[in-house]
């Protein structure tokens, strides 16, 4: 697919922003100025001030001489960059690849995007109308190369759309400044009477290199498409992404659902073709007022089942606030995993295998309440009861070791051992009776002790001597004594209940 780029030029970026913030400045001539070498230099000029003959690079004192009523505002360094970044973020609704072109432009890689708006002309028109609607004075052009689009946006007179392969024709009549050259080089070209690109494109390359250096040739090649140029997108492009612009702003849940289903179907079709399934998925809604609403889901197992994914999103759709309406829907799958074809053959791709069904059920729990609620445990090689099992990381993970069954373990374990009062006949004997929660238990039968030492490399503390005891009513408990008698008064705890 041939590459297509849009270059957007903000002619009065910071001053337009000022007017947007303070509408009373609309017709007031004002400049943005910053100190430079001990004097105030004009950094940006409003349209009204431009009409008075004030231009960029003048000293504020001179401007005041021309027009005494001139208002001067401080130009904060970096404000243009911040503004452009925000605008680039907004432009993500038109294409996933947007780059900032300092000091006053944006570059959009629109390859394969324009047809969604019904062609390049309506596409460009839509971008311009929207940005102008926000009060920015912009020009834009679309071309095969970044250089040509950039040149045409700033200097073009004929048409903003340069057809594929025609960038050389469009460039010929433009001034050399359209090639993004350095000021020194431009001055030299001007001195030699080379006022148009056409006057030097046919010169021998050797001569051009000798006189002007490699810079000129590189820029020329980039504009003509003979040399590739890369841009740095503000967001790395997600490879699995589907977008759906809507004709009219959508405000209803039904509308959102239809859009989501349609996007999921296209995305899952593509995933099926590439034998992949998604683990996380983000659904973004671009609102008319520039806000972006998004909901995210995750699956416990790579999935491309439309019905299931839709169900996961369905719980979260009510959290999307459409306000005045949503104009673009975007579905991204940042994490995808392979679903191997052998799995497909063994299980069923339609999602009827028992593992998939259970995974889908758990996804629904995770979607509604949270992933932290679901636990599965595997044995861990520790004697310390609290550490004798560990949480499994995935549904497929298998136990690496066997569960220990050689010592009795209670079916119920208290999350934290609770202190009890005991009466013990002689040291190292099981207790005769114990008080737990205000109730006295007479120990009739007892087993033990089972000594469990602290794992000193993990935790410091005293060892535990566990006893399993049975009281007169037949209830069975797991008690332990912490420490030796020799080391003072050992404490007794209850830690669990046997079945």
């Amino acid at each position: 697919m041939p590459k297509r780029f849009v270059a957007i030029w903000f002619r009065h970026l910071t001053t337009d922003w000022m007017i947007r913030r303070r509408p009373e400045l609309q017709d007031v001539p004002f400049v943005m100025a910053a100190p430079e070498r001990g004097r105030m230099m004009v950094k940006a000029v409003s349209i009204a001030a431009q009409a008075k003959g004030i231009y960029r690079g003048m000293v504020v004192a001179d401007c005041r001489a021309i027009f005494p009523g001139l208002q001067v505002f401080d130009d904060k360094p970096g404000s243009a960059e911040k503004l452009l970044n925000a605008l680039a973020e907004w432009c993500l609704r038109y294409t996933p690849v947007v780059a900032v072109d300092l000091p006053d432009g944006l570059i959009l890689d629109v390859s394969g995007c324009a047809h969604l708006w019904g062609g390049e002309r309506p596409y460009l028109k839509d971008i311009l109308a929207k940005i102008r609607g926000y009060g920015y004075d912009v020009r834009a052009a679309i071309a095969d190369t970044i250089g040509a689009a950039w040149a045409n946006a700033r200097f073009g007179q004929v048409t903003p759309v340069i057809e594929s392969g025609r960038q050389a024709d469009a460039l010929l009549s433009l001034p050399p400044a359209a090639l993004r050259l350095e000021p020194g080089m431009l001055e030299r070209l001007d001195k030699l009477g080379l006022h148009q690109v056409s006057s030097f494109t046919n010169m021998p390359r050797k001569a051009l290199r000798r006189r002007f250096g490699q810079g000129l040739l590189t820029r020329l090649d980039q504009a003509l498409g003979q040399e590739a140029e890369v841009i740095k997108p503000i967001r790395p492009a997600t490879p699995y992404q589907e977008r759906l612009p809507s004709l009219e702003p959508i405000r209803t849940a039904t509308g959102i659902e239809i859009a989501l289903r349609q996007l999921l179907e296209t995305l899952c079709k593509r995933l099926a073709k590439e034998e992949k399934g998604l683990r996380t998925c983000v659904f973004k809604c671009f609102r008319v007022d520039g806000n972006i609403q998004q909901v995210e889901i995750g699956t416990s197992k790579a999935s491309r089942n439309v019905a299931h994914l839709f169900k996961l999103f369905d719980i979260k759709i009510p959290t999307i606030m459409p306000a005045l309406g949503i104009e673009l829907f975007l579905l991204e799958a940042p994490i995808v995993e392979d679903i191997s074809p052998t799995q497909d053959a063994l299980w069923d791709t339609t999602g009827c295998s028992s593992d998939t069904v259970i995974a889908e059920l758990l996804d629904r729990f995770a979607g509604k309440i949270g992933l932290h609620t679901i636990h599965r445990y595997l044995p861990d090689e520790h004697y310390w009861p609290e550490r004798s099992y560990k949480a499994a990381t995935s549904l497929e993970e298998k136990a690496a070791t066997k569960w220990q069954t050689d010592f009795p373990r209670p079916l119920h374990l208290l999350p934290k051992p609770e202190a009890i009062e005991v009466t013990v006949p002689i040291p190292d004997y099981p207790p005769m009776l114990f008080h737990y929660k205000g109730k006295l238990h007479n120990v009739k039968k007892a087993d033990g002790p089972e000594r469990i030492e602290q794992e000193w490399w993990l935790q410091k503390g005293l060892q535990r001597d566990y006893y399993s005891v049975e009281d007169e009513s037949g209830s069975r408990y797991w008690l332990f004594r912490e420490g030796h008698y020799a080391s003072g008064d050992p404490k007794w705890f209850i830690h669990g209940f046997f079945a």
Partner: protein
């Protein structure tokens, strides 16, 4: 004489119809679950432990709760021998996974879902019971209204999943649409004469209600990986109770 046999035939036929109307499907021979409960199974309709139904178990104290979960785990062991995973849903989980091994369960095949709100627990239990791939669902929930229990019953009628609702210390023991109501209490274990130590877990199992069956009470012991009856004593139930249950 012929009239009499006809009469019993008719009654049996009618009983079958009533059972199917109540959502109880008779388990076929291949589906028959060997729980090892022995004589206890005689109390159930069709003399087989009802799978694909919701059982209600009530416990009052923490000790009873442990015994109740032990009894559930014993039945679960035979349920999970056949297929799949099991979901254990509750708000205050006390189960110690390694201990499940002695009840013949692979603890890694149990998925624990820990939720805070009772509403969420109920929702999760219902969703899980609708999932036919699970072998069983255990819900720990203290309060359950009749309507809620009916929703659970309708869910299992479709999916044939066995559900256990363990109600710990409920405010009132209201009627629910579950097929059975159990109460399990621990019993003192017995050792060989003169031997020290604690014996096998022993329970006093009370089947308080069973739809179309006969309630009763038994003493069971879990030993050598299965249930063992100690003595069989069926508490005589007033005639009126049986009729209500039937």
């Amino acid at each position: 004489m012929t009239l009499l046999t006809k009469k019993t035939d008719v009654i049996q036929q009618l009983q079958k119809e009533v059972l199917s109307l109540q959502g109880y499907k008779r388990t076929s021979g291949s589906e028959r679950l060997n729980t090892g409960l022995g004589p206890l199974e005689m109390s159930f309709p069709g003399k087989v432990f009802p799978v694909g139904a919701v059982h209600e178990l009530i416990s009052a104290t923490v000790e009873d709760a442990a015994a109740t979960n032990g009894f559930i785990a014993g039945i679960l062991g035979s349920l999970m021998r056949q297929k799949g995973a099991c979901l254990w849903i509750g708000s205050k989980r006390t189960i110690f996974p390694p201990a499940l091994k002695i009840f013949g369960i692979d603890p890694e095949r149990i998925i624990f879902v820990d939720l805070y709100r009772q509403k969420d627990v109920l929702w999760a239990i219902e969703e899980a019971l609708k999932c036919a791939s699970l072998s069983a669902v255990i819900g720990e929930l203290s309060e359950l209204t009749f309507t809620e229990s009916r929703r659970l019953q309708l869910a299992v009628e479709q999916s044939r999943v066995t559900g256990f609702i363990h109600r710990y210390n409920p405010r009132n023991k209201n009627t629910v649409a579950c097929i059975t109501r159990w109460e399990i209490k621990p019993l003192a274990s017995i050792m060989e004469e003169g031997m020290p130590g604690v014996g096998f877990p022993r329970w006093h199992v009370q089947l308080l209600k069973v739809r179309n069956g006969k309630p009763g009470s038994w003493q069971l012991e879990w030993s050598a990986g299965g249930f063992r009856h100690i003595t069989r004593t069926i508490i005589s139930i007033p005639e009126i109770e049986t009729r209500k249950a039937g």
